[in-house]
Symmetry: C2
């Protein structure tokens, strides 16, 4: 196994040169004449779909496997469950809204813009209620941010349990949001000196209330109404959700209806019995909001095996940090004995998914592949054992440890753990 840049040395089918436009019929020199090259194909002989066929398009039928998937036994009701982003089949950094993971506490509600209201009350000079049109009149900002469930990878605390990169690490998405800054709405209401926290809650039956310290509320928290250029989808909080860059997804309250300003945290169900980290001694850490630096190889991975033989292989994955930019991603193909820096492709935005690529010449032997992220604070993504040494095995949340995939010689990939 070497880490040299990939240059293809495969023997491609060779056709002689043919000049001019139109379909090229080659006098192929290949052993097996390829009818897809030597014959006129149906799709080159017909009219395809007209432009009025799909006013709003969907993925082509051949990609029907690239969808969100849920796990039925995970919760009692699918209205309070999770489905997972098919990260094993995606590329780049943007997550399309159509396949971006969902997590609901009482299902996704239908709330029209005309029925939408947002209240700011509590320790403010002037309690306010905004209509959707009111929000459109405040200055808008754009920010790209990852939203990761605090429980992403949570099944891994007890060992490699689920197959599929989608199921083990797919509670994450990354979108470009447009909205107004929470600080501008709070300024309109006038936060009183005693106001040290905001309590944010949604319009769904669960309300999913969470407390956010005022320092964060006045920093980069956004009240968003567009994602990836278009309106939020129903299941992502249409018409308005909170974007809390770098912090656990549960705080990104959907269908947000109220922002209360208080002198202390509310200590709601969602921040006491849930979304706290159970430690080995039985105590629970609370206020663990930030999602620490993490990465995962998305391909090859279980669900994305190698379908070709030895030779050039693209290893790719995602890295992210709630504390800022990703500055480096290392990849190991030998179970963590040696590491090589991967290429970071495109932008490495702060608190956003960052794509890495690592091109190798695969020798066709089994590999144990891993990635580890380093962010601008110098933090290095830990091993699973290092995390267990501190947090034990009882935890559900905040597993940002290194994920290992076993690539077998036949190209199939399994979720494993290295002792």
């Amino acid at each position: 196994m070497t880490d040299e840049p990939a240059t293809s040395r495969r023997a491609f089918l060779a056709g002689t040169a043919a000049a001019g436009a139109g379909l090229v019929a080659t006098s192929a020199t290949a052993q097996t004449p390829d009818p897809l090259i030597t014959e006129v194909q149906e799709w080159a002989s017909i009219f395809g779909d007209p432009v009025d066929a799909t006013p709003y398009g969907m993925p082509i039928e051949f990609e029907s496997h690239v969808v969100r998937r849920n796990v039925e036994w995970l919760t009692e009701s699918t209205a309070s469950s999770i489905n997972f982003t098919p990260i094993h089949a995606l590329e780049g950094t943007i997550t399309p809204q159509g396949c971006a993971f969902e997590r609901h506490h009482s299902g996704a509600i239908s709330l029209s813009k005309s029925d939408y209201r947002l209240m700011i009350n509590g320790l403010v000079d002037k309690p306010l209620v905004f209509t959707f049109e009111d929000l459109l009149r405040f200055p808008r900002q754009i920010t790209t941010a990852f939203c990761e469930c605090a429980a992403n990878g949570g099944m891994e605390w007890g060992g490699a349990q689920l197959e599929g990169c989608q199921f083990t690490q797919g509670m994450i998405h990354n979108m470009e949001y447009t909205g107004v800054m929470l600080r501008d709405l709070l300024a309109e209401a006038g936060v009183q000196t005693e106001g040290k926290w905001v309590y944010v809650e949604g319009a769904d039956a669960s309300s999913n209330g969470r407390s956010i310290p005022m320092e964060k509320a006045l920093d980069d928290v956004m009240v968003a109404f567009f994602a990836n250029g278009e309106a939020l989808r129903k299941e992502h909080g249409y018409p308005v959700r909170l974007v809390v860059p770098g912090w656990e997804g549960n705080m990104w309250v959907k269908w947000i209806r109220r922002i209360g300003v208080y002198d202390q945290a509310v200590e709601s169900r969602e921040e006491t019995s849930k979304y706290t980290d159970l430690m080995p001694d039985g105590r629970a850490r609370k206020w663990t909001w930030v999602m620490d630096a993490k990465s995962v190889i998305t391909s090859p991975s279980p669900q994305a095996p190698i379908r070709h033989g030895a030779g050039p292989l693209v290893i790719t994955g995602l890295a992210w940090s709630g504390n800022g930019r990703i500055t480096r991603v290392d990849v190991s193909t030998d179970g963590g004995n040696t590491w090589t820096p991967a290429r970071i492709s495109g932008d490495a935005k702060s608190k956003a998914l960052t794509r890495f690529h690592h091109d190798i010449n695969w020798d066709g032997q089994e590999m144990f592949i891993m990635s580890r992220a380093i962010d601008e604070t110098g933090y290095v993504q830990p091993t699973k054992q290092a995390l267990r040494d501190i947090r034990g095995l009882n935890n559900v949340y905040h597993n940002n440890s290194i994920q290992t995939w076993w690539v077998r010689a036949d190209g199939e990939v399994e979720n494993v753990e290295i002792a």
Copy 2:
């Protein structure tokens, strides 16, 4: 009319503070008690949709107007026509694939990955045929780029003709692409010294062949298979299309099947009788590939009128340049007599759509609103008259002139031309 930053001075409904979680019932001091605040709503009392409801989601029903639209009389067949991006209703910089404009010359074809082949032939050392799997083995890059039809705004040469920002300027989209660089594929085949052009053609019946100078082919042209994180859509060239950053959309060949290397341009139909600029003296300019700097206000605009009265108003739009980054966008509200720099929101990537915002306090009187883009080369988007002085009225392509919207006192907006 002033251009001061917007600070809201509207009288919002005021409710008294109410502490604690749960639905807040206000003792409202507003003249008209708002039942959406004072009563428990249905959506706060039910289970919403479960997570297995939408494996691949679509926009919510309330957004069903935000779709591509075509104009039936534009071409003889809708298989060789255009539909337009609803840019008046979008925000941010990304265009969702589902509503990104289409232009076909013989319709959108269904071509599976297993049936896909890409040939490189002509003046190369080793003619090659790639399968889709072959392409996945080359090093991948990410690039975000706008794709604009050369005829975008073409109806405007003869004066303001169509209503709707979508129909006048909507032949554009902006996506994050992942693929392999054309230069890497050409290097694999080995371009011979005499090879000065590539001729690229698609697998559809039209073939839509275009010549590209070798200098561009070896620079930033990408053979792309992902857009906005997922597979290309059928109508955008699934499984593989060409991305030619900054150059007219017709050259972004979809379902690309062949790249021929030649010592001269092919001078195909698509680059002689079409996609050339007819000048006043009857001659046609050819090889006008670059899309010069341009901008348009997307809201307010026809289809996106002002629904509220005087006071804070967000003016927003898009700017782009085929020659690099947008460095400034000016906005005028008085028909071009005075100009004020707008805010550029988010990134201003090279050869990609750039979002601008301009916050004003609207006095409720009529306005003639315009935007003009300036790019990193110092180029300033011209007036329509300046462009006509050189190119006359016979042209169809490359209208990058300033667009004027007439905002009436009642908030309705019309497409107009200022003499």
